[in-house]
Amino acid sequence: MFRRMLALLIVLVMVAAITASCGQVSTPQTAEPLVWGMHTDIGTLNPIFTESANEANILNAVFSTLIKVNDELEFEPYLLEEMPVVSQDGLTYQFKLREGVKFHDGVELTAEDVKFTYEMKMAEKNAVPSRLRWERIANFEIMDKYTFYITLKEPDVTWLEGWAYAESMIVPKHILEAEFIQGGNELSKGGNFSRNPIGSGPYRFVEWRANEFVMLEAFADYFRGKPQIESIVFKVVPDLNTMLARFTNGEIDIYDRAAPDHYQQLLTLQKEGMPINIHNSPSFMSMNAIFNLRLPVFQDIAVRQALSYAFPQERFIDVVLNGVATAAHADTPPMSWAYNPNLKQYNYNPEKARQILQEAGWKSGEDGVLEKDGVRLSFTINTTTGNPVREAFQEIAKQEWEAIGAEVFIQNFEAATLFGDILRNLEFEMIVLGSAAGIDPDSKTLWHSSQRPELYGTGQNFAGFSNPRIDELLEAGLQETSQEGRIAIYHEVQQILSQEVPFLFICFFNSITAVPKNLENFKPNPTLAGNTWNISEWKLN
C-alpha cells in the first residue's frame, strides 16, 4: 500500500513539473526583478529606529536624506536645493529644500517633515538607538514651507555628515504623527509604519516577508524621474556559502560585500564566462589589533613597536586577503582628504624587533619568554569566533611573536560576549576588531584621554591611550574651520599614532561586490551610505 502511494506521489510531482515548465513557455513573462542578496534579516524599515547596514541598503531606495555623499566622497545636496549655509560662528545652519518632492502617497515633503523627524528622534518614549547627533541641536526653526534653520549647542564640523546616512532619513509627518499620538506619544519599532514604510525615495515598498525578502517597485513620481529598473527584491541569505551558490546559479544578481575568500571564486566564474562585473574598491572598513595600554606589558613602547616589526603585514594582506586590502599605518584610510602618506612604517623585520626589545632591557627568562622588571612578555589575543580572517591573523601573529620571545595565547568569543563583556569591561589584553571610519577625519572618540570608557562612561578609547599632544590636536581639529589647517592637524595626529602604535594597525579592507555585467551606474560607496546610495540611477541594458 505504501509503495502504491509513493508511486502516485511521484507521478503527481512529475505531472506538476511538466505542466509547470510548459506553463512557463507559453505564458508571457514580465521582466524579473533585480535581486540583491543580504546576509541577515532586518529589524525595521522605519529610519527612526534603524541600526544596521542591511537596513540602510533598503532604506536608501525607499527614503530620502537631505544630502548625499557620493562615491568620490563629495557632499551633494539631495532633498536640498543647495548645500546648507553655515553661520560665521559655526552654530547656525540654514537649509533650503527642493520644491515638488512627493512622498509615495502623493503628499509633498516640506520642512515640517524634517522637523517632525527630529522630534521623533528626540521623543522621550521612542526607543531610538542613537540620539548623539540629535542632542547637539539647540533649536530648530521653520521659516517657511521649504526653509528652516538649525542651531547647534556647540560648533561641530562633523555634524553635517550625519545628514547623509539612514538614521537621518525624512519620514512623513502626515502619516507617522497619527501613529505616534495613538501610541500614547510613543512610536513603536514594530509598529505599522516599520512594516509598511512610506518615503520619498525612488522605490516604493511592496512587501516584506519576514526572514525571506523585501520587494520594492519603482515610484513613478520620484522627483528625479521614474527609475529604469521596475522592481527590486532584497533576499535574505544567512549563509555566505549559500549566497555564493545562489549567485552562481543566477538566483541572486548582486552579491554585495563578498567574503574575502570568495574573491578568487568570483574571478574564476568571470573567467569562465559568467557575465558579471566584480567591483574591487577601497572602503572605510579597517581591521586592527588594540593593545590594552593599562597593562604593564603594553605600556612599554618598545614592546608595541617590536610586535609591529615582527608582524608580516604585507604578506598577510597578500596571502590571507588575496591582496584585497591596503596596509594601514594609522587610523585614517588612504582615500580620505586628511590621509598622511608619509608615516612610520613597520616593514617586516624580526631581527629589528629582537634588537628593540633587547635595547629596552627585555631579557630571556628561564622558559625562553622575555622578561623585564618582573613583567613577562605574555598576553592573550581575543577576537570573535567564526571569522577566518581574524583567526588567520591570530595564528600568524602567534607564530611570529613567539619566535621573538613572546608568549601568546588565543581565546575567542562569540560576538555578543566579546562586545558585551570582554570589550565593555576592558577585560581584554589584545583584541582584534573591525571598524568603519567616517568621512570626517576626527577621531576624538578613539584617542582623546577623556574618551577612555572607565572614566566617564563615554568614548571608544578602549586602548586607554593618553597623550597630551594628541588631546591638543584633536580638540583643535574640531575647532579649526579651514581645510588646510585641519589637514595639518590630522597629519600630525597620524604621525604620532604611527610612532606610538597604540594599535597594531593592520589594514583597510577593499570591498568586493559582484553585479551583472549589464547593470550600469553601479558605483560602490565606501561610506556608511552603502552601495545602494544611487539606486535611482541604476540601469539594466
Binding site: N241, A245, N249, T417, F419
Partner: protein
C-alpha cells in the same frame, strides 16, 4: 478517570514552570547581555544604552524580570522582540507555518522511506539489498547535515540547475499567470521544488535510524507464534506482512517517532540556515545571537507546550495501535 487527567494537567503545568525557570536562568547566565549589539556601534553612547535598557525594563534585577515575564505569559502576553519591536507571539506565529511545512514534508519522506526500507530489509534478510540498506543507514546517520546540504546545493542547484538553492518561494510568483487547468499543479510544484532539498537533508538521519528500528521490529514480530499460525493456515504472505505483522511492528516505531516530535516544532536550525528557510530555527539562532530574551523565552515555552502535547498525542496513538494498552495513566 477524571483524577488521572487532572494529575496529567498538573504535571504538565509543573513541567512548563520548571522549563521556563531553567531557560531563563541559562539565558541570564550566558555572557554578553542584551545590550551587547549596541556596543559595536560607535554612534550609540552610554547614555543611549542606559535609556534603551530602561525603556525595555532591562535594568531590573533578574528575579524581578522573571516574575514580570511569568505574570505576562500567564495572561497570554509573551512580550516584545528587541530586534523588531513586534510582539513575540507575532514573530513566532509568522515562522511556525514554514517550520511545520518543512517538518511535515520531511517526516512524511522519512516515514515512508523508513517503513519501506524496514519492511524490505526484514523480508529479505541478509540479501544484497538488506546489506546495502544497512550501509546507507549508517552513512546517513553520520553525515553532517550542513555539509550534505551544501553538497546537494552544489549538485542540484548549480551543476544541474534542477532545483533552487534556497528560500521558500519565488517572491514574484504569480499563480494567476498560468491557465486554470494547470494552475494547481504549478502551485504545487512551485512549493515543492523549494521544499525538496531541505526536507531530504532533514529526513536523512531519521531514515537512517527509523529504518533500522523498523527492520528489527518487523523481525521480532515475524518470529511470533501467531504469524506462524497464520502462515500455516494458508494466509497469503502479502497479507501476513502488511496486515498482521506491520501493524504490530509499527507500535515501537510510533514511540520512537513520538520522541522525535519535539524536533518537529523546534525546527531544524542548521538546515534552515543553509537553505534560507524562514522557520523557527532561524528565528532562534538570530535571537540567541542578538540576546533577544523575550523571543528566546517565547520560543522555549511554546516549544515546551507543543512537546508535551506531542507526547500526549503519541500516547493516544500508542493506545490506538495496540488494543492491549488501554487508558494508561
Amino acid at each position: 478517570m477524571g483524577n488521572r487527567y487532572l494529575k496529567r494537567l498538573a504535571t504538565l503545568l509543573l513541567s512548563l514552570f520548571i522549563v521556563s525557570l531553567l531557560a531563563f536562568t541559562l539565558i541570564e547566565l550566558s555572557p554578553g547581555g542584551a545590550m551587547a549589539r549596541y556596543l559595536e556601534n560607535p554612534k550609540i553612547s552610554q547614555a543611549d544604552r542606559a535609556r534603551i535598557a530602561l525603556r525595555f525594563g532591562l535594568d531590573k534585577p533578574a528575579p524581578v524580570r522573571y516574575l514580570i515575564w511569568l505574570r505576562n505569559t500567564v495572561q497570554g502576553d509573551l512580550g516584545i522582540s528587541l530586534m523588531t519591536g513586534r510582539p513575540v507571539l507575532t514573530e513566532i506565529l509568522e515562522r511556525l507555518p514554514a517550520t511545520l511545512k518543512l517538518m511535515t514534508f520531511s517526516f512524511i519522506i522519512s516515514l515512508f522511506a523508513a517503513i519501506a526500507i524496514g519492511i524490505y530489509s526484514a523480508t529479505h534478510r541478509h540479501s544484497l539489498g538488506d546489506n546495502l540498506a544497512a550501509a546507507c543507514s549508517f552513512l546517513f546517520l553520520s553525515l553532517p547535515s550542513f555539509w550534505f546540504g551544501l553538497l546537494m546545493i552544489y549538485l542540484f542547484a548549480i551543476r544541474l540547475d534542477w532545483l533552487p538553492a534556497g528560500g521558500m518561494i519565488t517572491p514574484w510568483f504569480d499563480p494567476d499567470k498560468y491557465p486554470l487547468p494547470t494552475r494547481p499543479f504549478v502551485i504545487f510544484w512551485e512549493h515543492t521544488r523549494y521544499l525538496l532539498m531541505p526536507a531530504t537533508v532533514l529526513s536523512l538521519s531519521n531514515i537512517g535510524s527509523w529504518s533500522r528500528y523498523m527492520r528489527s521490529s518487523m523481525l521480532d514480530v515475524v518470529s511470533q507464534n501467531y504469524i506462524r499460525t497464520a502462515r500455516a493456515n494458508g494466509v497469503p504472505e502479502r497479507k501476513i506482512v502488511y496486515k498482521h505483522a506491520l501493524r504490530n511492528a509499527l507500535t515501537p516505531l510510533v514511540t520512537l517517532v513520538g520522541l522525535n516530535l519535539p524536533s518537529f516544532f523546534a525546527g531544524a536550525v542548521v538546515t534552515e540556515q543553509i537553505f534560507a528557510w524562514p522557520g523557527m530555527g532561524r528565528l532562534f539562532i538570530s535571537a540567541a545571537g542578538n540576546r533577544d530574551y523575550q523571543v528566546l523565552m517565547g520560543i522555549t515555552i511554546i516549544t515546551a507546550v507543543l512537546v508535551l502535547l506531542g507526547n500526549l498525542l503519541a500516547d493516544f496513538l500508542y493506545a490506538f495501535l495496540d488494543p492491549r494498552i488501554k487508558c494508561e495513566g
